[in-house]
Subunit: 327 residues, 2 copies
């Protein structure tokens, strides 16, 4: 009945919920005991525990509707939340989606958002099992992701030890390059624009890292230096990054030259690449998805840190932080 | 270091997270394997499943900062999400909180919000185990609640059968009365204003209903008629409410008379009372928190329904629905 020209104000909340539920039910998985349409969903937790994380995408802050399609926003919202699950070494199994939206939002946009969420969830065999909708002047997509860790030990941020190697799965600086491209009115190169619109977290690498006894892990959302600092602080260590091991992305380097920008700001400070940063003990058999980028050393009084690049603190912007004016 | 005059823009995201974490860590419970400060939290799920629900509170839509304190908003945000868990017959155990807020928000407001969330969680022995913060023009508090159902069967919306009794735990119309009082510039009677600001879901009644084999259950958020319709539709039955069993709240009736309003709009249509509506088979021993308000009958071709009051469809507003202009 609902045509794609209709807005949420035309059709109302219950019709919106019907449209979203149609998309989500079509992609539902059997691990869900009670799914959409009740007060709450019921998730199976065969290992006796569940890994949970929530992440928000806010229009104007994390996405623009003229830069990303609804499908892109859905994929990215799911990817960001599931990336947190992967960073614990768990497999994402289910999502809850809270959508706060203005009445002027086209119903078709909401449907495509749902399709994007379901598509990204299906990459790892997960599904959307419930959610909430409400009217809001600002469009906010909030995703709670659930994950199962099986019998594996979970990988926190706090287990890095001096002598461990520092490893990376994924690429650096591409999402920041893509955002720069879009903010300057361009739409290509497509590879970096896609890195901003629809990051592809290396989900399987997270599980592999846990199976290989990674000592710590985090996903790269705030930027390499900021996220490395989270591990270093939680673990009480220093993380030494080796600049010669961080570069090598020719596309990104060429773009930075073209724009007259310092590629290291993208690589070290640019956020939202959604790779995985992990540490492994020297004797570990590190999964193939990871490459070495530095090492863990001892925190010592009077020494710089807790994150060093070629032995020194990086002098530049400090990474993205919400609420603060750009530094 | 941070004075209470500071805003989020003054202190930044990491300081905000520190302040929230201080509040939440102080109220943490041992059922959490990994709590605040990592990529994700890890919840114990000893029964092999977890009940999950998400709910949003949006400034200007669900609350106003001049009508409710930050502590009130926190309590209500937690109560709304945990009410959904109770409506399945489960015990809330943990919360994730996503806060989207403008940079101008006072840090003290955020701290009091966290205290309100922790306070309401502690009512049932739950705690806040993680969350997300982001900058947003609109203030949105989104809460994901987790619950444990032990060995009890979960109570969905779809199990009501003809012949069952319809029962209510909690009071009707008080939150709508409180909202009317506030919207007309008054601050009392305090009892109804409190019902709007800080609803008190009958959490234990939800568990008791499940233990007594309730055939269906829902929490009263959209209004009695709308929520009864959710059960009736999901169960394929008619719900007959008995008007003589619904009233009897003298405070609310006196207020409606003073305002020259129809008390039945508050009782039948007013939302956000956060009581529990449940159905029980005739032979059930209904928990003391519930009182009878009607019965379940068969859905028949050509008959009105699916919700009747004294045998007829209620002619009036249809209950609250997001995105639609008031009817």
């Amino acid at each position: 009945v609902a045509s794609d020209d209709l807005t949420l104000a035309d059709v109302g909340e219950f019709a919106l919920i019907d449209v979203l539920a149609q998309v989500f039910v079509a992609s539902a998985r059997p691990s869900v005991e009670v799914g959409l349409g009740d007060d709450a969903a019921v998730l199976a937790a065969p290992s006796g525990r569940l890994v949970v994380a929530v992440d928000q995408m806010i229009e104007g802050r994390h996405f623009r509707r003229d830069w990303s399609s609804a499908h892109d926003v859905g994929r990215k919202a799911a990817a960001r939340a599931m990336s947190d699950i992967a960073a614990m070494g768990a497999v994402p199994t289910a999502l809850l989606v809270a959508l706060a939206a203005p009445g002027s939002l086209p119903l078709a946009w909401a449907r495509e958002l749902a399709e994007g969420l379901a598509t990204e969830a299906s990459v790892v065999g997960a599904s959307v099992v419930g959610g909430d909708t409400a009217e809001s002047p600002t469009l906010v997509v909030s995703v709670t992701a659930f994950g199962d860790s099986g019998d594996r030990a979970l990988v926190t941020r706090s287990g890095a030890r001096p002598g461990d190697g520092v490893f990376l799965a994924g690429r650096l600086g591409r999402a920041a390059a893509g955002l720069t491209v879009l903010s300057r009115g361009h739409r290509q190169p497509k590879s970096v624009v896609a890195a901003h619109r629809t990051p592809e977290p290396p989900y399987a690498a997270g599980v592999a890292a846990a199976a290989a006894s990674a000592t710590s892990m985090i996903d790269l959302s705030d930027g390499l230096l900021a996220d490395a600092r989270h591990i270093a602080t939680a673990s009480g260590v220093v993380i030494d990054l080796d600049r010669s091991l961080l570069g090598g992305d020719d596309d990104v380097e060429a773009m930075a030259r073209n724009f007259g920008l310092d590629v290291w700001e993208w690589v070290l400070v640019g956020g939202e690449d959604y790779g995985l940063l992990a540490t492994f003990a020297p004797e570990a058999v590190v999964p193939a998805a990871f490459r070495p980028i530095g090492r863990v050393s001892e925190l010592r009084e009077g020494r710089e840190g807790p994150v060093l690049v070629d032995g020194a603190t990086h002098r530049g912007a400090g990474g993205h932080e919400h609420f603060m004016p750009p530094s």
